[in-house]
């Protein structure tokens, strides 16, 4: 028992050390860029109107948040400009996911089960997917005006189709014997959907959600620039018009940081704890 436990612990520690080393390596390019940035400020190669000092970017946070209290952040008080933009972008992503993911999975499973439905849905899906999210922006503005509806529409349009398609393909790739074995154990259609199709399609679904959030996030930022009146995209756009380059930098950096955090903290662990645990994906040993 204790020998096994020791081996287990050692294995865990080895894994953690390996992971730490991975993170350390991944941090190097960021540190190099940061160093170059500071060096540029110090040497004065490129003027602050093009590349603002790091210090000015950090200060921009306080300028945008001037007069904002902790409670004001949660209440999205008008003095909390910076956090308001972040929260409205995140809110849209959240809403887009809450609506788009279940809808995509639901219809994807149905289409994966029925040849007829998938024949009906596939061409229009290919068509819709071919038109990038941003291409819809002008039309969406005509339909919904500038604001929440337009940005949400763009996001949904991206998230839904990606989740739908990946779910459809995932369901189709589930071996028929899984379905047959559950049927011969007395399972009904609902058992098949919840215990065979959805878990079997999960690797594909997670890929779809990951792609959906990734592309959706990019499309959203673009949509906010021209079709929004809040959000990080809008903030960048307005700041650029006013030549507040440090705010543009702040916004751009944040877009990247938010995506990295979402992917590393939510999506990657989700993949680990379900799919890898079940041995559904090949993984290098």
């Amino acid at each position: 028992m204790s020998a096994a436990a020791t081996t287990f612990m050692a294995g865990r520690m080895g894994l953690d050390r390996k992971r730490m080393r991975g993170i350390g390596l991944g941090a190097i390019p960021f540190l190099v860029l940061l160093g170059a940035w500071e060096l540029n400020t110090f040497m004065g190669w490129l003027k602050p109107v093009y590349i603002p000092p790091l210090r000015a970017v950090v200060d921009a946070v306080f300028t945008l948040q001037e007069g904002c209290s902790a409670l004001g952040i949660l209440g999205m008080h008008e003095s909390c400009l910076f956090t308001n933009h972040i929260l409205s972008s995140l809110g849209r992503v959240g809403l887009g996911l809450v609506v788009g993911v279940p809808l995509g999975i639901g219809l994807g499973v149905l289409a994966g089960m029925s040849r007829r439905l998938s024949n009906a849905m596939e061409p229009v899906g290919v068509f819709a997917n071919a038109i990038s999210g941003i291409a819809w922006v002008p039309l969406a503005i005509v339909w919904f005006g500038v604001g929440w509806f337009t940005t949400l529409f763009i996001l949904l349009n991206t998230v839904f189709w990606l989740v739908f398609f990946n779910t459809l393909l995932g369901v189709r790739s589930v071996p028929r014997t899984y379905e047959h074995s559950v049927l011969t154990l007395g399972g009904n259609r609902w058992h098949i959907i919840s215990q065979v199709y959805i878990p079997g399609a999960l690797p594909s679904i997670v890929t779809g959600v990951r792609m959906g959030i990734g592309f959706g996030w990019r499309a959203l930022i673009a949509a906010e620039m021209i079709g929004g009146n809040t959000g990080l995209g809008f903030m960048i756009f307005v700041s650029a018009n006013e030549y507040k380059v440090e705010e543009v930098f702040l916004g751009v950096l944040l877009i990247g940081i938010i995506w990295m955090v979402t992917d590393r903290i939510i999506l990657v662990p989700l993949e680990k704890w379900t799919i890898e645990r079940w041995g559904l994906v090949w993984r290098p040993s």
């Binding site: 071996p175 014997t177 899984y178 047959h180 074995s181 559950v182 049927l183 011969t184 154990l185 007395g186 399972g187 058992h191 215990q195 065979v196 878990p199 079997g200 999960l202 379900t274 645990r277 079940w278 041995g279 559904l280």
Partner: protein, 268 residues
């Protein structure tokens, strides 16, 4: 066993034929032709026949996974209309769910039946022990060997307590050594559970070793060609002894020559 004078027929197949439509040529594939057979309660029936003769087709029809238009299939007196828990199936491979642990795979049938968790756990443990997987209850299938996966599949079917068990070449995908062990274990399980079993194989030795009777099929369209009775007591079905037992070797040679006729005809 001896006192059981009334032999109940658990599985009755009468006049069963099957055609597959061929979408490309428009010509139907005649897979089964007027098949008649009966399996009695507690009997182990083996089915052998050349590749492509319709064995899997027969099993899928019995399981209710493939609808039949011609003939009748009755299990425990009821006409088969679709899949149901009265007919448990052990598939050749890739049938236990990768996202369920050993324990949850084996208890799947009971879970579907809605048996409360404590009772289910007790029953599952019984079958985990029966197939020799004690200690592996919480493993996922990808952590098991091919032979262990088939044990899980076997236990899952047994645990749901079907009226008949249908097995389609369940040991064909494991290595020779594991297959021998699994065959002996299945015999032990057949003694312990007295299940009615229809076991499909194209391995003649396996059929003679496990079957009380062996149905030999012709090449496609599959018809029942002959029935061979194997008078080897279950208790003496251990490979070490069986190979020297005339009851086994005699039946095996008879089955083999019957199967060979079909294969040879095929070549000519």
């Amino acid at each position: 066993m001896e006192g059981n004078a009334v032999m109940r027929e658990k599985l009755i197949v009468e006049g069963l034929s099957h055609h597959y439509p061929d979408e490309y040529t428009g010509m139907d594939i005649h897979a089964l032709d007027n098949v008649n057979l009966k399996v009695t309660e507690g009997e182990f029936a083996a089915v052998v026949g050349p590749s492509g003769c319709g064995k899997t087709t027969l099993l899928n029809i019995l399981a209710g996974l493939l609808p039949h238009k011609v003939g009748s299939v009755r299990v425990d007196g009821h006409e088969v209309k679709g899949p149901g828990p009265d007919r448990g199936v052990v598939f050749q491979e890739h049938a236990i769910l990768p996202w369920r642990t050993v324990e949850r795979n084996i208890g799947h049938g009971l879970e579907i039946q809605g048996l409360p968790a404590p009772e289910r756990k007790r029953r599952v443990q019984e079958f985990v022990d029966l197939v020799g997987l004690t200690g592996f209850e919480n493993r996922y299938p990808h952590e098991l060997s091919g032979g262990m996966k088939q044990r899980v599949a076997l236990a899952r079917t047994l645990c749901a307590n079907p009226v008949v068990m249908l097995m389609d070449e369940p040991f064909a995908a494991v290595d020779a050594q594991t297959r021998i062990t699994l065959q002996e274990e299945l015999n032990r399980i057949a003694i312990a559970t007295r299940k009615t079993i229809l076991f499909i194989t194209h391995n003649v030795d396996e059929a003679a070793f496990l079957g009380d009777r062996c149905f030999i099929f012709t090449r496609r369209p599959g018809k029942l060609k002959a029935t061979v009775k194997i008078n080897l007591p279950r208790e003496s079905r251990v490979w070490k002894n069986a190979v020297a037992d005339p009851a086994f070797t005699g039946a095996r040679d008879e089955i083999l020559s019957l199967v060979r006729e079909e294969v040879r005809d095929d070549d000519g």
